[in-house]
Amino acid sequence: GREAQRPKNPASYNLSEYLKQFLFPENECELHDFRLSFSQLHWDNWIIAPQRYNPRYCQGDCPRAVGHRYGSPVHAMVQNIIYEKLDSSIPRPSCVPAQYSPLSVLTIEPDDSIAYKEYEDMIATKCTCR
């Protein structure tokens, strides 16, 4: 009990190690590639182009002080505080895509017509913690 009450003295820690956890978490939230080919999904006989597609995905830890580095809203910091101070059953902010780019697709339709379409939000280009 007495051990817990004694205020932790930052000086007893290596300050740079202490700060590192805020600035550069090891498994930092970032963008990862996932190159798939439509032939793997057996969709290549109606998707003519592109033949390969890299939707990318976001993965990694969200540090406690998310701040501007991840373009996180203030809410994400509030949720972190709730998790740490009030109720740890509330999840911490997650590493998710924040921006996307479109994709052009050339497909053969069931009636053998051919369609060129441009779809929104098909490739993740930026991650955030929220």
């Binding site: 069931p110 009636d111 779809y119």
Partner: protein
Amino acid sequence: SPMSRGENRTLGRSPEVESLSFLLSSVVGNRPDLLPPLLQVLSDRHHQNRQRGMRSLQPDSTALGFMKRLYRMYASKEGIPKSNRSHLYNTVRLFTPDAEPKWDTEDQRMGLPGSADLTFNLDRVTVEEHLLKSVLLYSFNNSIPFSSAIVCPCQLVVKELESSSPECSRAPCSLNFNLDLKLRKKRRWVEIDVTALLGPLIATNKRSVKMAVNFTCLQDRDRHSSVPNEPLNKALLRSPSLLLYLNDTSNQAYHNWYSLRSGEEPPIPWSGQRRGFSTFPGERVAPRR
């Protein structure tokens, strides 16, 4: 490699997961609108193919060549729509005639392509896809070696065969073209803008379009006395394809007019006011205010 790891985690190897409809129905149940657009198209496709015993798809090879060229013009290697483009549509659909066209036997004997009745089934055009431009796409086969660009005078008559329909009172039901075709070794397609003819029909969501077309190349420019250019007419692949340049306003479609240069307006669906609004690359016609 990341791909195989990802694949094991997301798709797994069990046979059930291989079947697309199982995968999609387990994700959305009976709420297909939850599906992203691409998966929705593929889910419909998978369902229809199972109904038709998985008939393999055979689009017209010439048409496929044209659309692949169009794809390379509009999208980067990774499939991302190019930003430095001047057109405003996010959908292009190519239709080939429904059945084998009915040719005028008299013309056939004279070695002319002659007039043909064509029917195009436009079922795949959705309600949110608004027509900006429609084009008849003719192509020439390789029977004539074009060593250099040649220019040949041609005549084309396009007549919409349901002229009794009310749309015809407001817009022409027949178009005559006198063209000087520029044909090059690499460029064997000829695109004829028929928006004025088909615009009113497609704007009223007609599911099929019937038309008679007569395309004849002539020896010389004096169209009244000129005789048909037989070799060129023979090289002309008989039935044209129909190209529709559309603007899909659904929220899944990519709307690139956010990136328009200042002063350019977002596309206005075909409604008759803006004639000859040309959105085809290379033909920069400033939309009238």
